[in-house]
């Protein structure tokens, strides 16, 4: 099975029912995407597939073979952070930070389709991501500026 992650082609020898999250975390050692619920309800595992934020825990790796997969590890280019990474840093939008990677990926997808989202548009679009520490006000701030 061939997949393209962060602009690199990989060949995986995994069972058909392997999730994208397991492929990333266990087989490719890209552990920035996190397991939170396994049912697509918390958003900690979100990655971009052809630009759309998708929970990788309920996505089979077999279904994304001809697509561009982007994970948190693929955002930094030539030592320069993606503006959304920088915005999360600037807002100090972290406590335990386990949700951060999924938050950042979902926020990038939001901004790609709506570059200047209102507060209301941000909170509606980001409902699929849980922050258990409730750093929500700073996350809204980061996304507004990211």
């Amino acid at each position: 099975m061939k997949i393209n992650v962060n602009s690199t082609d990989y060949t995986l020898d995994v069972p058909d029912n392997t999730t994208l999250l397991d492929a990333l975390r266990v087989h490719l050692n890209l552990t920035g995407s996190k397991y939170g619920c396994g049912e697509g309800a918390c958003g900690a595992c979100k990655v971009l597939i052809d630009g759309h934020a998708v929970p990788s825990c309920i996505t089979l790796v077999a279904s994304v073979q001809n697509k561009a997969i982007l994970t948190i590890e693929g955002l930094e280019k030539d030592g320069k952070l993606h503006p959304m990474q920088q915005a999360f840093l600037d807002a100090d939008a972290f406590q335990c930070a386990y949700c951060s990677s999924g938050m950042i990926m979902a926020a990038i997808a939001l901004k790609a389709r709506n570059p200047k989202p209102s507060r209301q548009e941000i909170v509606e679009a980001m409902q699929g991501n849980i922050c258990r520490c409730c750093v929500y006000p700073r996350i809204i701030n980061a996304i507004t500026h990211g």
Binding site: L30, A44, Q95, I104
Partner: protein, 705 residues
């Protein structure tokens, strides 16, 4: 007392060690018999490393669960050491009970316990570097100053890196003065989390990310309900499943080990296990019935607190106010589910992962494996949340057992969300009965709090204790197979809701403004205290007044805007909150804003402090509004986020925070802003609708838009 504990309880002292490469470590090691003259009177626990090039590394000994101690504790040292924060490296220290003390994330206690000792560590090291510079220049040490990792004297300067070798040979000075507050450069500033860059690039490794050569992943099959035990199992099909390497039974559980988490979780589904009921399996309705039945009987145990005579006071009362409250079980739901790496060898064990209580974990594992504690190493990873769940050590013990039984293999035991939510520990379930007596002069003369809980009890000295002449607190604990654990703001998290809601009801029944009633009671606690008073009435009153001011208490904010007030003292900190709700055209209410005033003594890191308070308020509101674990015949009805409702971005109120200016030492901050939040909201709902919310989650009330 064990030999180890004896060793740990001995006075510690500062020791200097010259590093092989030329460097200074200021550490705190147990007293060695050969050098009693080096004994220091303070008990310090951190250490500083400075290399010859001037690179400063500060060790952070406490577990980081998102409360920010990996940033705030090193700030205390860096402030006194006078180094440029940008050039300081922070390293997480592993468990070392000889070098460090209180390596615990709990009780909002890390900064409180370290305030004096950590600053003393920094100040002592700085003094030694000054002495080394003074000797180099042949000038009096008292004439030297420091700035950003340099010692200065009349236009000359020399870096710490150049001084470190000489400094490391000096005697450790005693009782070095710490900086006066006015000269702080770091403490009180906005300083960002030190792990931020690794986090946003996805490089930071949590415990769940641990991978080692030859390591197997393991998942554990647990009893399907509280009160069931394993009788037998058939693993024939599971062992044939792809990637599954071993299936093991231990205690009341079955471990499935294999190559990947997905494969072991699939393999586990193929194990056919037989369970039996140990006794009658209880449901939530049974617990409510049983707790209420307990509250209908007279207290049997000795009161937890007894001031005056409530019986006499109630019999002579002009008015009696009574409200009962019910709290559900809550799951901790750390975003990173329970997990731990263990590699048990013939006579030692390595433990690595997310744990709030590494010392307890080491002690438990040593006991289980029957090996000495000093053969067990524990390294703490940054945790994807704690909330009290990781004060327990069950998941560490499991990992050690599985590693041993698997033939001393390295294992990472990872819990699925369903196991984490369904088979772990819960915030206790409570039912509280409150009664208050008001006399003919409209004075509050008696207060009785009677609590029954599955695994929990009451907080007997909570305000208004100290301000009411006749006050009694009684508790019952109902025994059940459901395992319970501290949950963020233990006991306070429901005490504050119930007591502050009850206070609101008393005020309404007395025809008094709720803020005025609280201030009058605090005045009584100050002028004529009854029994033990564990809070300072003036500080408490000050946050209440300030919250009333910023929240616009008593001022009209429009016909459809209603306010609720709550204040609570916990972990030595004072918090007062005003919740503002809007009543919509259909009569439903919507939470708009929470105003919050906090007196937590000196704020160490403004950025960290604000996010702790904001997060605590939203966490408190979220759980009061939406969350519960219910049981049907011992089996949790909620096992994942699709059924256990967590507050989300679109549901948060606006928040305004004010920190009291203070010159006293820092007090707790990871928890104190959570407990009153539910009460502030409930009291605003009462103001808007006349309905008293007495049970959580509020969402069941149908009052909310």
């Amino acid at each position: 007392m064990s030999e180890l504990e004896n060793k740990l309880n001995r006075r510690n002292f500062l020791r200097i060690t010259a590093l092989t490469g030329g460097g200074l470590i200021l550490g705190f090691n147990s007293l060695s018999a050969s050098s009693p003259e080096q004994e220091q009177s303070f008990d310090l626990n951190a250490f500083i490393k400075i290399d010859a090039k001037g690179k400063v590394t500060i060790m952070s000994p406490n577990p980081e669960i998102g409360q920010g101690v990996k940033t705030s504790l090193p700030i205390l040292i860096a402030e006194e050491l006078d180094v440029d924060w940008k050039n300081v490296q922070i390293q997480q220290a592993g468990l070392d009970t000889v070098k460090y003390k209180r390596q615990i994330a709990g009780g909002s206690g890390s900064v409180r316990a370290s305030w004096d000792s950590f600053r003393q560590v920094g100040a002592t090291a700085r003094q030694m570097l000054i002495s080394a510079a003074a000797a180099t220049w042949a000038v009096p040490a008292a004439e030297c100053t420091t700035e950003n990792g340099m010692v200065l004297h009349s236009g000359k300067k020399i870096s710490y890196g150049e001084l470190v070798e000489k400094a490391s040979k000096l005697e450790v000075p005693k009782d070095v003065k710490v900086k006066p507050k006015e000269t702080f450069k770091l403490i009180g500033q906005r300083i960002k989390n030190v792990d931020n860059h690794a986090i946003v690039t996805g490089q930071y490794k949590y415990g769940i990310d641990t991978k080692r050569e030859g390591m197997l992943y393991a998942t554990i099959i647990r009893p399907p309900a509280f009160g069931m035990t394993l009788t037998s199992f058939d693993d024939t099909e599971a062992k044939k499943a792809p990637g599954v390497k071993q299936v093991l039974r231990f205690e009341n559980k079955i471990a499935v080990l294999g190559r990947t988490t997905w494969e072991v979780m699939q393999g586990a589904k193929k194990v056919k296990a037989q369970w039996k009921e140990e006794g009658p399996l209880e449901s939530t309705a049974d617990y409510i019935k049983n707790l209420h039945a307990l509250l209908a009987t007279s207290p049997v145990d000795k009161p937890r607190r007894k001031d005056g005579d409530i019986t006499a006071a109630f019999s002579g009362a002009a008015k009696v106010v009574e409200v009962n409250f019910d709290a559900p079980f809550l799951a901790h739901n750390t975003m990173e589910p329970m997990n731990f790496f263990a590699h048990v060898k013939a006579d030692s064990a390595e433990l690595y992962g997310p744990i709030q209580t590494p010392e307890r974990a080491r002690s438990r594992v040593a006991e289980i494996l029957n090996i000495p504690q000093d053969k067990v190493s524990v390294m703490m990873t940054r945790m994807g949340g704690g909330f009290g769940r990781r004060l327990m050590t069950d998941f560490v013990e499991e990992a050690a057992m599985v590693s041993k039984l698997a033939g001393n293999l390295p294992v990472n035991v990872i819990w699925s969300r369903e196991h984490d939510m369904g088979g772990g520990y819960y915030r206790p379930m409570y039912s509280y009965k409150y009664r208050a007596a008001v006399d003919k002069d409209n004075k509050l003369i008696a207060w009785h709090h009677y609590s029954a809980g599955v695994g929990g009890s009451a907080s007997p000295d909570s305000f208004p204790a100290g301000a009411v002449p006749n006050l009694q607190v009684d508790t019952h604990v109902y025994k059940s197979p459901v395992t319970t654990a501290p949950w963020r703001g233990p006991t306070h998290n429901f005490i504050a809701f119930s007591e502050q809601s009850f206070m609101d009801q008393i005020a309404h029944d007395m025809g008094k403004d709720p803020v005025t009633l609280r201030l009058e009671l605090l005045e009584l606690a100050k002028s004529s205290p009854v029994g033990k008073v564990n809070y300072e009435p003036d500080r408490f009153a000050a946050v209440i007044k300030k919250a009333a001011e910023i929240g616009g208490w008593g001022k009209s904010k429009g016909a459809n805007i209603f306010l609720g007030f709550a204040a609570h003292f916990s972990f030595e900190s004072y918090v007062a909150q005003v919740a503002e709700v809007e009543k919509l055209a259909d009569g439903k209410v919507k939470l708009k804003k929470v105003y919050c005033v906090v007196d937590c003594g000196t704020v160490v890191n403004q950025s960290g402090a604000e996010t702790q308070v904001e997060g605590s308020i939203i966490d408190g509101i979220g759980h009061a509004m939406f969350a519960e674990i219910t049981l049907t015949k011992g089996k949790p009805d909620q096992t994942n986020f699709s059924t256990y409702r967590m507050i989300r971005l679109n549901e948060i109120p606006e928040i305004e925070i004010h920190f009291s200016k203070s010159n006293v030492a820092p007090t707790g901050l990871g928890e104190p802003a959570l407990p009153p939040a539910g009460a502030a909201l409930a009291n605003a709902v009462y103001a808007a609708t006349g309905v008293r919310l007495t049970s959580q989650p509020f969402i069941k009330s149908d009052l909310f838009a």
